[in-house]
Amino acid sequence: MAEQHFLEVRHLGKRFDTDHGELTVFDDVSFGLDKGEFVCIIGHSGCGKSTILNVLAGLDSPSGGEVYMAGKEVRGPSLERGVVFQNYSLLPWRSALSNVEFGVRARFPGWGKAKVREHSLRYLHMVGLKDGAEHRKPAALSGGMRQRVSIARAFATQPQLLLLDEPFGALDALTRGTIQDELLRICAETHQTVFMITHDVDEAILLADRILLMTNGPFARVAESVKVSIERPRDRTTIVHDPGYYPIRTHLVDFLVSRSRELSERDDAVRDAGHAREVRAEAMAPVEVDPAADARAEAAGLVRAQGPDPHAPPPLKAVNGN
Protein backbone atom coordinates (compact mmCIF):
# COMPACT_ATOMS: atom_id res chain seq x y z
CA MET A 1 0.00 0.00 0.00
CA ALA A 2 1.30 3.36 -1.03
CA GLU A 3 0.00 5.58 1.73
CA GLN A 4 -2.35 5.38 4.67
CA HIS A 5 -5.33 7.74 4.43
CA PHE A 6 -7.62 8.67 7.31
CA LEU A 7 -10.40 6.83 5.53
CA GLU A 8 -9.42 3.92 3.36
CA VAL A 9 -11.93 2.31 1.03
CA ARG A 10 -10.52 -0.82 -0.54
CA HIS A 11 -11.96 -2.92 -3.36
CA LEU A 12 -15.50 -2.25 -2.27
CA GLY A 13 -18.14 -4.17 -4.21
CA LYS A 14 -21.90 -4.64 -3.96
CA ARG A 15 -23.86 -7.42 -5.59
CA PHE A 16 -27.56 -8.15 -5.41
CA ASP A 17 -29.33 -11.38 -6.25
CA THR A 18 -32.13 -10.64 -8.66
CA ASP A 19 -34.55 -12.78 -10.65
CA HIS A 20 -32.21 -12.51 -13.60
CA GLY A 21 -29.17 -13.64 -11.71
CA GLU A 22 -26.57 -11.64 -9.89
CA LEU A 23 -26.36 -7.90 -10.38
CA THR A 24 -23.10 -6.16 -9.58
CA VAL A 25 -23.86 -2.52 -8.87
CA PHE A 26 -20.27 -1.46 -8.32
CA ASP A 27 -17.08 -3.36 -8.14
CA ASP A 28 -13.61 -2.71 -6.87
CA VAL A 29 -14.20 0.82 -5.66
CA SER A 30 -11.12 2.14 -3.90
CA PHE A 31 -10.31 5.62 -2.66
CA GLY A 32 -9.05 7.44 0.38
CA LEU A 33 -9.92 10.55 2.34
CA ASP A 34 -7.49 12.59 4.38
CA LYS A 35 -8.33 14.28 7.64
CA GLY A 36 -10.03 17.62 7.04
CA GLU A 37 -10.69 16.88 3.40
CA PHE A 38 -14.03 17.61 1.72
CA VAL A 39 -14.72 15.06 -0.98
CA CYS A 40 -17.75 14.94 -3.25
CA ILE A 41 -18.78 11.96 -5.30
CA ILE A 42 -20.67 12.39 -8.54
CA GLY A 43 -22.20 9.79 -10.80
CA HIS A 44 -25.40 8.90 -12.56
CA SER A 45 -28.30 7.35 -10.68
CA GLY A 46 -27.80 3.65 -10.17
CA CYS A 47 -24.04 3.70 -9.90
CA GLY A 48 -24.27 2.92 -6.21
CA LYS A 49 -23.20 6.23 -4.63
CA SER A 50 -25.78 5.95 -1.89
CA THR A 51 -24.80 2.36 -1.21
CA ILE A 52 -21.17 3.43 -0.84
CA LEU A 53 -22.22 6.13 1.62
CA ASN A 54 -24.36 3.65 3.55
CA VAL A 55 -21.42 1.25 3.73
CA LEU A 56 -19.24 4.07 5.07
CA ALA A 57 -21.99 4.86 7.59
CA GLY A 58 -22.13 1.20 8.57
CA LEU A 59 -25.81 0.96 7.67
CA ASP A 60 -25.18 -1.38 4.75
CA SER A 61 -22.61 -4.09 4.35
CA PRO A 62 -20.60 -4.54 1.17
CA SER A 63 -20.43 -7.81 -0.78
CA GLY A 64 -16.70 -7.45 -0.94
CA GLY A 65 -13.88 -5.19 0.13
CA GLU A 66 -13.41 -3.27 3.34
CA VAL A 67 -13.42 0.22 4.81
CA TYR A 68 -10.93 1.45 7.40
CA MET A 69 -11.27 4.66 9.35
CA ALA A 70 -8.27 5.80 11.39
CA GLY A 71 -6.79 2.33 10.96
CA LYS A 72 -9.84 0.50 12.30
CA GLU A 73 -12.22 -1.49 10.17
CA VAL A 74 -15.71 -0.02 9.83
CA ARG A 75 -18.27 -2.51 11.07
CA GLY A 76 -21.73 -1.23 11.81
CA PRO A 77 -22.85 2.33 12.51
CA SER A 78 -20.91 4.57 14.85
CA LEU A 79 -21.21 8.05 16.30
CA GLU A 80 -17.78 8.69 14.80
CA ARG A 81 -19.50 8.84 11.43
CA GLY A 82 -22.37 11.31 11.36
CA VAL A 83 -24.90 11.07 8.57
CA VAL A 84 -27.13 13.73 7.04
CA PHE A 85 -29.80 12.09 4.90
CA GLN A 86 -31.49 13.65 1.92
CA ASN A 87 -34.90 13.48 3.58
CA TYR A 88 -33.53 15.05 6.80
CA SER A 89 -34.61 12.07 8.94
CA LEU A 90 -35.68 14.22 11.85
CA LEU A 91 -37.89 12.61 14.45
CA PRO A 92 -41.20 14.40 13.80
CA TRP A 93 -42.52 14.15 17.36
CA ARG A 94 -39.54 16.09 18.69
CA SER A 95 -38.87 19.79 18.32
CA ALA A 96 -35.83 20.98 16.37
CA LEU A 97 -33.91 21.50 19.61
CA SER A 98 -34.98 18.14 20.97
CA ASN A 99 -33.81 16.46 17.77
CA VAL A 100 -30.35 17.92 18.23
CA GLU A 101 -30.39 17.07 21.93
CA PHE A 102 -31.23 13.50 20.96
CA GLY A 103 -27.93 13.30 19.09
CA VAL A 104 -25.95 15.13 21.76
CA ARG A 105 -27.26 12.90 24.56
CA ALA A 106 -26.38 9.80 22.55
CA ARG A 107 -22.88 11.15 21.96
CA PHE A 108 -22.17 12.49 25.46
CA PRO A 109 -24.21 10.32 27.84
CA GLY A 110 -22.46 11.78 30.88
CA TRP A 111 -23.53 15.35 30.27
CA GLY A 112 -26.11 17.10 32.40
CA LYS A 113 -29.34 18.50 31.05
CA ALA A 114 -28.16 22.10 30.96
CA LYS A 115 -24.93 21.27 29.19
CA VAL A 116 -26.74 19.22 26.54
CA ARG A 117 -29.13 22.08 25.93
CA GLU A 118 -26.44 24.70 25.73
CA HIS A 119 -24.35 22.61 23.33
CA SER A 120 -27.38 21.87 21.13
CA LEU A 121 -28.46 25.51 21.03
CA ARG A 122 -24.96 26.55 20.02
CA TYR A 123 -25.06 24.31 16.96
CA LEU A 124 -28.62 25.33 16.09
CA HIS A 125 -27.58 28.97 16.18
CA MET A 126 -24.57 28.09 14.05
CA VAL A 127 -26.88 26.90 11.26
CA GLY A 128 -29.12 29.92 11.75
CA LEU A 129 -32.02 28.52 13.76
CA LYS A 130 -33.09 30.94 16.43
CA ASP A 131 -35.93 33.22 17.54
CA GLY A 132 -38.26 30.39 18.51
CA ALA A 133 -37.75 28.29 15.40
CA GLU A 134 -35.71 25.85 17.51
CA HIS A 135 -38.79 24.96 19.54
CA ARG A 136 -40.92 24.10 16.52
CA LYS A 137 -41.62 20.59 15.33
CA PRO A 138 -40.11 19.63 11.96
CA ALA A 139 -43.55 19.71 10.31
CA ALA A 140 -43.73 23.41 11.13
CA LEU A 141 -40.35 24.13 9.53
CA SER A 142 -39.53 24.65 5.87
CA GLY A 143 -37.42 22.10 4.01
CA GLY A 144 -34.36 24.31 4.30
CA MET A 145 -34.85 24.75 8.03
CA ARG A 146 -35.26 21.01 8.50
CA GLN A 147 -32.05 20.31 6.66
CA ARG A 148 -30.31 22.89 8.84
CA VAL A 149 -31.52 21.04 11.93
CA SER A 150 -30.28 17.80 10.45
CA ILE A 151 -26.88 19.36 9.77
CA ALA A 152 -26.78 20.84 13.27
CA ARG A 153 -27.52 17.42 14.73
CA ALA A 154 -24.71 15.85 12.73
CA PHE A 155 -22.17 18.55 13.63
CA ALA A 156 -23.23 18.65 17.28
CA THR A 157 -22.22 15.01 17.72
CA GLN A 158 -18.74 16.02 16.50
CA PRO A 159 -18.11 12.97 14.32
CA GLN A 160 -14.70 12.30 12.85
CA LEU A 161 -16.30 11.84 9.46
CA LEU A 162 -19.44 13.51 8.18
CA LEU A 163 -21.43 11.75 5.47
CA LEU A 164 -23.86 13.84 3.44
CA ASP A 165 -26.28 12.03 1.15
CA GLU A 166 -27.47 14.64 -1.36
CA PRO A 167 -28.36 16.95 1.50
CA PHE A 168 -29.60 19.79 -0.69
CA GLY A 169 -31.31 17.72 -3.38
CA ALA A 170 -34.82 18.52 -2.23
CA LEU A 171 -34.28 22.25 -1.67
CA ASP A 172 -35.01 25.18 -3.95
CA ALA A 173 -32.02 26.93 -5.51
CA LEU A 174 -32.12 29.97 -3.26
CA THR A 175 -32.27 28.01 0.00
CA ARG A 176 -29.66 25.61 -1.31
CA GLY A 177 -27.29 28.51 -1.93
CA THR A 178 -27.56 29.91 1.58
CA ILE A 179 -27.16 26.52 3.24
CA GLN A 180 -24.15 25.79 1.03
CA ASP A 181 -22.64 29.01 2.34
CA GLU A 182 -23.34 27.93 5.92
CA LEU A 183 -21.79 24.54 5.29
CA LEU A 184 -18.74 26.14 3.69
CA ARG A 185 -18.28 28.42 6.68
CA ILE A 186 -18.83 25.72 9.30
CA CYS A 187 -16.43 23.33 7.57
CA ALA A 188 -13.81 26.06 7.42
CA GLU A 189 -14.23 26.64 11.17
CA THR A 190 -14.28 23.01 12.25
CA HIS A 191 -11.99 21.41 9.64
CA GLN A 192 -14.55 18.68 9.38
CA THR A 193 -13.77 15.69 7.15
CA VAL A 194 -16.72 15.33 4.80
CA PHE A 195 -17.83 12.81 2.21
CA MET A 196 -20.77 14.05 0.20
CA ILE A 197 -22.96 12.76 -2.59
CA THR A 198 -24.30 15.32 -5.02
CA HIS A 199 -25.79 15.59 -8.48
CA ASP A 200 -24.93 19.24 -8.74
CA VAL A 201 -21.62 19.93 -10.48
CA ASP A 202 -21.45 23.56 -9.31
CA GLU A 203 -22.17 22.55 -5.74
CA ALA A 204 -19.33 20.03 -5.89
CA ILE A 205 -16.85 22.58 -7.20
CA LEU A 206 -17.90 25.13 -4.57
CA LEU A 207 -17.58 22.76 -1.64
CA ALA A 208 -15.08 20.05 -2.44
CA ASP A 209 -11.32 19.69 -2.28
CA ARG A 210 -11.63 16.66 -4.48
CA ILE A 211 -14.41 15.21 -6.62
CA LEU A 212 -14.69 11.49 -7.28
CA LEU A 213 -16.33 10.55 -10.57
CA MET A 214 -18.10 7.24 -10.95
CA THR A 215 -18.78 5.38 -14.18
CA ASN A 216 -22.29 4.13 -14.92
CA GLY A 217 -23.57 1.00 -13.24
CA PRO A 218 -23.69 -1.93 -13.30
CA PHE A 219 -20.02 -2.61 -12.57
CA ALA A 220 -19.56 1.06 -11.71
CA ARG A 221 -16.20 2.18 -10.41
CA VAL A 222 -14.50 5.38 -9.34
CA ALA A 223 -12.77 6.38 -12.56
CA GLU A 224 -11.34 9.79 -11.75
CA SER A 225 -10.42 11.88 -8.81
CA VAL A 226 -10.57 15.53 -9.79
CA LYS A 227 -8.70 17.95 -7.58
CA VAL A 228 -10.37 21.33 -7.09
CA SER A 229 -7.46 23.66 -6.52
CA ILE A 230 -9.51 26.85 -6.36
CA GLU A 231 -8.35 28.67 -3.28
CA ARG A 232 -10.38 28.98 -0.13
CA PRO A 233 -12.24 30.82 1.24
CA ARG A 234 -14.56 30.35 -1.69
CA ASP A 235 -17.61 32.40 -2.36
CA ARG A 236 -20.65 31.27 -4.29
CA THR A 237 -20.92 34.52 -6.24
CA THR A 238 -17.28 35.03 -7.16
CA ILE A 239 -16.07 31.46 -7.61
CA VAL A 240 -17.33 31.42 -11.20
CA HIS A 241 -14.81 34.14 -12.03
CA ASP A 242 -11.88 32.00 -10.98
CA PRO A 243 -9.93 30.97 -14.07
CA GLY A 244 -9.92 27.41 -12.76
CA TYR A 245 -13.71 27.21 -12.46
CA TYR A 246 -14.88 26.58 -15.99
CA PRO A 247 -12.16 24.10 -16.96
CA ILE A 248 -13.20 21.95 -13.98
CA ARG A 249 -16.86 22.40 -14.72
CA THR A 250 -16.37 21.43 -18.37
CA HIS A 251 -14.31 18.45 -17.33
CA LEU A 252 -17.02 17.23 -14.93
CA VAL A 253 -19.88 17.82 -17.34
CA ASP A 254 -17.94 16.05 -20.11
CA PHE A 255 -17.51 13.11 -17.81
CA LEU A 256 -21.18 12.93 -16.91
CA VAL A 257 -22.37 13.41 -20.49
CA SER A 258 -20.06 11.06 -22.32
CA ARG A 259 -17.00 9.66 -20.56
CA SER A 260 -18.95 7.90 -17.76
CA ARG A 261 -20.79 5.91 -20.42
CA GLU A 262 -17.76 5.37 -22.64
CA LEU A 263 -15.71 4.09 -19.74
CA SER A 264 -18.49 1.73 -18.67
CA GLU A 265 -18.77 0.38 -22.19
CA ARG A 266 -15.02 -0.09 -22.39
CA ASP A 267 -15.03 -1.87 -19.02
CA ASP A 268 -17.82 -4.11 -20.29
CA ALA A 269 -15.86 -4.96 -23.43
CA VAL A 270 -12.75 -5.80 -21.45
CA ARG A 271 -14.81 -7.86 -19.01
CA ASP A 272 -16.52 -9.74 -21.84
CA ALA A 273 -13.12 -10.50 -23.28
CA GLY A 274 -12.31 -12.17 -20.01
CA HIS A 275 -9.76 -9.67 -18.79
CA ALA A 276 -11.42 -8.82 -15.53
CA ARG A 277 -8.01 -8.46 -13.98
CA GLU A 278 -7.18 -5.58 -16.29
CA VAL A 279 -10.25 -3.56 -15.27
CA ARG A 280 -9.44 -4.33 -11.69
CA ALA A 281 -5.96 -2.99 -11.92
CA GLU A 282 -7.14 0.28 -13.41
CA ALA A 283 -10.02 0.62 -10.99
CA MET A 284 -7.71 0.40 -8.02
CA ALA A 285 -6.21 3.76 -8.82
CA PRO A 286 -8.52 6.53 -9.97
CA VAL A 287 -6.87 8.91 -12.37
CA GLU A 288 -5.82 12.16 -10.69
CA VAL A 289 -6.87 15.21 -12.67
CA ASP A 290 -6.56 18.90 -11.86
CA PRO A 291 -8.07 20.97 -14.65
CA ALA A 292 -7.89 24.10 -12.57
CA ALA A 293 -4.13 23.94 -12.19
CA ASP A 294 -3.76 23.21 -15.88
CA ALA A 295 -5.87 26.22 -16.70
CA ARG A 296 -3.86 28.43 -14.41
CA ALA A 297 -0.63 27.30 -15.92
CA GLU A 298 -2.00 28.11 -19.34
CA ALA A 299 -3.34 31.45 -18.19
CA ALA A 300 0.05 32.35 -16.81
CA GLY A 301 1.91 31.44 -20.02
CA LEU A 302 -0.51 31.88 -22.86
CA VAL A 303 -3.50 34.14 -23.37
CA ARG A 304 -4.64 31.89 -26.22
CA ALA A 305 -6.06 29.17 -23.97
CA GLN A 306 -8.83 31.37 -22.66
CA GLY A 307 -10.11 32.90 -25.88
CA PRO A 308 -12.05 30.14 -27.56
CA ASP A 309 -13.58 28.70 -24.41
CA PRO A 310 -17.35 28.96 -25.00
CA HIS A 311 -17.96 28.99 -21.25
CA ALA A 312 -15.50 31.81 -20.71
CA PRO A 313 -16.62 34.02 -17.87
CA PRO A 314 -17.51 37.67 -18.54
CA PRO A 315 -14.77 40.35 -18.67
CA LEU A 316 -14.97 40.85 -14.91
CA LYS A 317 -12.64 37.89 -14.66
CA ALA A 318 -9.54 40.05 -15.26
CA VAL A 319 -10.28 42.08 -12.13
CA ASN A 320 -10.73 38.96 -10.12
CA GLY A 321 -7.66 37.17 -11.44
CA ASN A 322 -5.43 35.17 -9.16
Binding site: P77, S78, F85, S89, P92, W93, F102, A106, K137, A139
Partner: protein
Protein backbone atom coordinates in the same frame (compact mmCIF):
# COMPACT_ATOMS: atom_id res chain seq x y z
CA UNK B 1 -67.11 30.45 9.15
CA UNK B 2 -66.02 27.45 11.18
CA UNK B 3 -67.77 28.75 14.24
CA UNK B 4 -70.95 29.42 12.37
CA UNK B 5 -70.82 25.85 11.00
CA UNK B 6 -70.42 24.51 14.53
CA UNK B 7 -73.27 26.66 15.76
CA UNK B 8 -75.50 25.53 12.91
CA UNK B 9 -74.60 21.87 13.55
CA UNK B 10 -75.63 22.24 17.19
CA UNK B 11 -78.86 23.83 16.07
CA UNK B 12 -79.64 20.97 13.65
CA UNK B 13 -78.83 18.41 16.35
CA UNK B 14 -81.20 20.10 18.78
CA UNK B 15 -83.95 20.31 16.22
CA UNK B 16 -83.57 16.59 15.40
CA UNK B 17 -83.65 15.75 19.10
CA UNK B 18 -86.72 17.82 19.85
CA UNK B 19 -88.60 16.58 16.78
CA UNK B 20 -87.82 12.91 17.51
CA UNK B 21 -88.72 13.14 21.17
CA UNK B 22 -91.81 15.18 20.35
CA UNK B 23 -93.09 12.63 17.82
CA UNK B 24 -92.36 9.83 20.23
CA UNK B 25 -94.21 11.58 23.01
CA UNK B 26 -97.16 12.49 20.76
CA UNK B 27 -97.52 8.98 19.39
CA UNK B 28 -97.93 7.85 22.94
CA UNK B 29 -100.50 10.36 24.15
CA UNK B 30 -102.68 10.56 21.02
CA UNK B 31 -104.02 7.04 21.34
CA UNK B 32 -104.78 7.40 25.00
CA UNK B 33 -108.43 6.90 25.79
CA UNK B 34 -110.31 10.02 26.80
CA UNK B 35 -112.93 8.14 28.69
CA UNK B 36 -112.75 7.62 32.39
CA UNK B 37 -110.94 4.40 33.33
CA UNK B 38 -112.27 1.97 35.77
CA UNK B 39 -110.10 1.06 38.71
CA UNK B 40 -109.52 -2.36 37.17
CA UNK B 41 -108.36 -0.78 33.93
CA UNK B 42 -105.97 1.45 35.78
CA UNK B 43 -104.53 -1.47 37.70
CA UNK B 44 -104.01 -3.32 34.44
CA UNK B 45 -101.74 -0.64 33.04
CA UNK B 46 -103.99 2.04 31.64
CA UNK B 47 -106.30 -0.29 29.77
CA UNK B 48 -104.05 -0.33 26.79
CA UNK B 49 -104.86 -3.24 24.55
CA UNK B 50 -101.12 -3.58 23.92
CA UNK B 51 -98.13 -2.75 26.10
CA UNK B 52 -96.32 0.33 24.72
CA UNK B 53 -92.83 1.69 24.78
CA UNK B 54 -92.86 4.34 27.52
CA UNK B 55 -92.75 7.98 26.39
CA UNK B 56 -89.64 10.17 26.76
CA UNK B 57 -91.20 12.13 29.60
CA UNK B 58 -91.30 8.98 31.74
CA UNK B 59 -87.70 8.12 30.86
CA UNK B 60 -86.52 11.62 31.70
CA UNK B 61 -88.37 11.39 34.99
CA UNK B 62 -86.71 8.11 35.83
CA UNK B 63 -83.30 9.42 34.76
CA UNK B 64 -83.67 12.40 37.09
CA UNK B 65 -84.60 10.10 39.94
CA UNK B 66 -81.83 7.54 39.28
CA UNK B 67 -79.11 10.10 38.65
CA UNK B 68 -79.96 12.09 41.74
CA UNK B 69 -79.03 9.05 43.84
CA UNK B 70 -76.87 6.83 41.64
CA UNK B 71 -74.98 4.92 44.32
CA UNK B 72 -77.64 3.49 46.60
CA UNK B 73 -77.50 -0.21 47.40
CA UNK B 74 -80.72 -1.84 48.56
CA UNK B 75 -79.85 -5.47 48.04
CA UNK B 76 -78.76 -7.65 45.13
CA UNK B 77 -81.67 -6.68 42.86
CA UNK B 78 -81.84 -3.01 43.68
CA UNK B 79 -78.63 -1.06 43.20
CA UNK B 80 -78.11 2.45 41.84
CA UNK B 81 -77.19 2.91 38.20
CA UNK B 82 -73.83 4.34 39.28
CA UNK B 83 -72.92 1.14 41.10
CA UNK B 84 -73.93 -1.04 38.15
CA UNK B 85 -71.97 1.10 35.69
CA UNK B 86 -69.05 1.14 38.13
CA UNK B 87 -68.88 -2.67 38.12
CA UNK B 88 -68.94 -2.75 34.34
CA UNK B 89 -66.29 -0.04 33.98
CA UNK B 90 -64.08 -1.80 36.53
CA UNK B 91 -64.30 -5.07 34.59
CA UNK B 92 -63.68 -3.39 31.25
CA UNK B 93 -60.68 -1.44 32.50
CA UNK B 94 -59.16 -4.48 34.25
CA UNK B 95 -59.56 -6.76 31.23
CA UNK B 96 -58.44 -4.03 28.88
CA UNK B 97 -55.41 -3.17 31.02
CA UNK B 98 -54.31 -6.80 31.23
CA UNK B 99 -54.77 -7.12 27.47
CA UNK B 100 -52.61 -4.02 26.90
CA UNK B 101 -49.87 -5.48 29.12
CA UNK B 102 -49.78 -8.57 26.91
CA UNK B 103 -50.65 -7.14 23.51
CA UNK B 104 -48.26 -4.20 23.34
CA UNK B 105 -45.01 -6.06 24.17
CA UNK B 106 -46.11 -9.02 22.04
CA UNK B 107 -47.06 -6.68 19.21
CA UNK B 108 -43.60 -5.10 19.48
CA UNK B 109 -42.01 -8.52 19.12
CA UNK B 110 -44.17 -9.43 16.13
CA UNK B 111 -43.59 -6.06 14.49
CA UNK B 112 -39.83 -6.21 14.95
CA UNK B 113 -39.30 -9.80 13.92
CA UNK B 114 -40.58 -11.09 10.58
CA UNK B 115 -39.94 -14.60 11.91
CA UNK B 116 -42.22 -14.13 14.91
CA UNK B 117 -44.77 -12.46 12.67
CA UNK B 118 -44.92 -15.49 10.39
CA UNK B 119 -44.82 -17.92 13.30
CA UNK B 120 -47.63 -16.29 15.30
CA UNK B 121 -49.80 -15.17 12.41
CA UNK B 122 -51.77 -18.45 12.05
CA UNK B 123 -52.69 -18.42 15.75
CA UNK B 124 -53.80 -14.81 15.60
CA UNK B 125 -55.85 -15.40 12.45
CA UNK B 126 -57.72 -18.32 14.05
CA UNK B 127 -58.21 -16.80 17.51
CA UNK B 128 -59.16 -13.31 16.35
CA UNK B 129 -62.58 -14.09 14.76
CA UNK B 130 -63.82 -16.10 17.76
CA UNK B 131 -66.70 -14.32 19.46
CA UNK B 132 -65.44 -13.44 22.92
CA UNK B 133 -68.59 -14.91 24.47
CA UNK B 134 -67.71 -18.30 23.01
CA UNK B 135 -64.88 -18.38 25.54
CA UNK B 136 -67.28 -17.93 28.43
CA UNK B 137 -68.08 -21.61 29.21
CA UNK B 138 -64.42 -22.54 29.04
CA UNK B 139 -63.48 -19.56 31.19
CA UNK B 140 -66.15 -20.42 33.77
CA UNK B 141 -64.93 -24.01 33.89
CA UNK B 142 -61.26 -23.15 34.26
CA UNK B 143 -61.48 -20.01 36.40
CA UNK B 144 -64.56 -21.08 38.41
CA UNK B 145 -65.45 -17.46 39.12
CA UNK B 146 -68.03 -15.46 37.19
CA UNK B 147 -66.39 -12.10 37.94
CA UNK B 148 -62.97 -13.22 36.74
CA UNK B 149 -64.53 -14.97 33.76
CA UNK B 150 -66.16 -11.79 32.51
CA UNK B 151 -62.82 -9.99 32.95
CA UNK B 152 -61.19 -12.76 30.94
CA UNK B 153 -63.75 -12.32 28.17
CA UNK B 154 -62.94 -8.61 28.06
CA UNK B 155 -59.24 -9.46 28.03
CA UNK B 156 -59.60 -11.82 25.10
CA UNK B 157 -61.68 -9.44 23.02
CA UNK B 158 -59.48 -6.37 23.64
CA UNK B 159 -56.23 -8.10 22.87
CA UNK B 160 -56.55 -8.47 19.09
CA UNK B 161 -56.94 -4.90 17.87
CA UNK B 162 -54.11 -3.78 20.17
CA UNK B 163 -51.86 -6.65 19.15
CA UNK B 164 -52.42 -6.19 15.44
CA UNK B 165 -52.16 -2.41 15.52
CA UNK B 166 -49.00 -2.49 17.63
CA UNK B 167 -47.37 -4.99 15.27
CA UNK B 168 -48.50 -2.96 12.28
CA UNK B 169 -47.29 0.32 13.75
CA UNK B 170 -43.93 -1.08 14.82
CA UNK B 171 -43.31 -2.80 11.50
CA UNK B 172 -44.22 0.40 9.67
CA UNK B 173 -41.78 2.71 11.48
CA UNK B 174 -39.86 4.55 8.78
CA UNK B 175 -36.50 2.99 8.10
CA UNK B 176 -34.91 6.45 8.19
CA UNK B 177 -35.82 6.85 11.86
CA UNK B 178 -34.44 3.44 12.67
CA UNK B 179 -31.28 4.44 10.81
CA UNK B 180 -31.08 7.57 12.94
CA UNK B 181 -31.16 5.34 16.01
CA UNK B 182 -28.48 3.11 14.49
CA UNK B 183 -26.13 5.92 13.52
CA UNK B 184 -26.50 7.30 17.04
CA UNK B 185 -25.53 3.92 18.48
CA UNK B 186 -28.70 3.61 20.54
CA UNK B 187 -29.09 0.40 22.53
CA UNK B 188 -32.02 -1.82 21.50
CA UNK B 189 -33.89 -0.68 24.61
CA UNK B 190 -33.34 2.99 23.84
CA UNK B 191 -34.26 2.43 20.20
CA UNK B 192 -37.50 0.81 21.28
CA UNK B 193 -38.47 3.53 23.76
CA UNK B 194 -37.06 6.65 22.10
CA UNK B 195 -37.69 5.94 18.44
CA UNK B 196 -40.02 3.03 17.74
CA UNK B 197 -42.53 3.57 20.54
CA UNK B 198 -43.13 7.28 19.81
CA UNK B 199 -43.22 6.56 16.08
CA UNK B 200 -45.77 3.76 16.47
CA UNK B 201 -47.71 5.38 19.33
CA UNK B 202 -50.52 6.86 17.23
CA UNK B 203 -51.19 3.47 15.59
CA UNK B 204 -51.00 1.70 18.95
CA UNK B 205 -53.42 4.17 20.53
CA UNK B 206 -55.81 3.70 17.63
CA UNK B 207 -55.74 -0.03 18.35
CA UNK B 208 -56.43 0.68 22.02
CA UNK B 209 -59.35 2.89 21.07
CA UNK B 210 -60.87 0.13 18.93
CA UNK B 211 -60.27 -2.33 21.76
CA UNK B 212 -62.00 -0.33 24.43
CA UNK B 213 -64.97 0.17 22.13
CA UNK B 214 -65.27 -3.58 21.58
CA UNK B 215 -64.73 -4.27 25.29
CA UNK B 216 -67.62 -1.99 26.18
CA UNK B 217 -69.84 -3.75 23.63
CA UNK B 218 -68.91 -7.17 24.98
CA UNK B 219 -69.24 -6.40 28.71
CA UNK B 220 -73.00 -5.87 28.39
CA UNK B 221 -73.49 -9.27 26.78
CA UNK B 222 -71.07 -10.94 29.20
CA UNK B 223 -72.90 -9.53 32.23
CA UNK B 224 -76.24 -10.63 30.83
CA UNK B 225 -74.78 -14.14 30.81
CA UNK B 226 -73.04 -14.23 34.18
CA UNK B 227 -75.47 -11.99 36.06
CA UNK B 228 -75.06 -10.59 39.56
CA UNK B 229 -73.87 -7.05 38.95
CA UNK B 230 -73.05 -4.69 36.15
CA UNK B 231 -74.97 -2.70 33.60
CA UNK B 232 -75.56 -5.73 31.37
CA UNK B 233 -77.17 -7.58 34.25
CA UNK B 234 -79.17 -4.47 35.09
CA UNK B 235 -80.64 -4.27 31.58
CA UNK B 236 -81.61 -7.91 31.63
CA UNK B 237 -82.99 -7.69 35.15
CA UNK B 238 -85.20 -4.73 34.25
CA UNK B 239 -86.42 -6.64 31.20
CA UNK B 240 -87.41 -9.47 33.49
CA UNK B 241 -89.19 -6.90 35.66
CA UNK B 242 -90.92 -5.63 32.50
CA UNK B 243 -89.67 -2.16 33.40
CA UNK B 244 -89.05 -0.81 29.91
CA UNK B 245 -88.46 2.69 31.19
CA UNK B 246 -85.39 1.46 33.09
CA UNK B 247 -84.28 -0.58 30.08
CA UNK B 248 -84.30 2.47 27.83
CA UNK B 249 -82.64 4.58 30.50
CA UNK B 250 -79.84 2.06 30.92
CA UNK B 251 -79.40 1.74 27.14
CA UNK B 252 -78.80 5.48 27.03
CA UNK B 253 -76.35 5.25 29.93
CA UNK B 254 -74.41 2.50 28.13
CA UNK B 255 -74.12 4.78 25.13
CA UNK B 256 -73.00 7.70 27.27
CA UNK B 257 -70.28 5.75 29.09
CA UNK B 258 -69.10 4.19 25.80
CA UNK B 259 -68.76 7.65 24.34
CA UNK B 260 -66.78 8.87 27.36
CA UNK B 261 -64.38 5.90 27.14
CA UNK B 262 -63.87 6.55 23.44
CA UNK B 263 -63.28 10.25 24.05
CA UNK B 264 -60.67 9.47 26.70
CA UNK B 265 -58.70 7.34 24.26
CA UNK B 266 -59.17 9.89 21.49
CA UNK B 267 -57.67 12.55 23.76
CA UNK B 268 -54.75 10.27 24.60
CA UNK B 269 -54.20 9.68 20.86
CA UNK B 270 -53.99 13.41 20.27
CA UNK B 271 -51.16 13.64 22.78
CA UNK B 272 -48.95 11.19 20.88
CA UNK B 273 -50.03 12.28 17.42
CA UNK B 274 -47.36 13.86 15.25
CA UNK B 275 -47.28 15.37 11.84
CA UNK B 276 -44.72 14.18 9.34
Amino acid sequence: MLQSINARAVLVSLVLLVVTLGLWQLSHTSSEADTEMTEYERLMGGAEPQAKVPPPSEIIGLAAKELSNPFYDAGPNDKGIGIQLGYSIYRVLTGFGLAALVAIPLGFLIGMSPLMYKALNPFIQILKPISPLAWMPLALFIIKDSEASSIFVIFICSIWPMLINTAFGVAGVRKDWVNVARTHELTPMNTAFQVILPAAAPTILTGMRISIGIAWLVIVAAEMLVGGTGIGYYVWNEWNNLDLTSVIFSILMIGLVGMLLDMALATATRFVQYQE
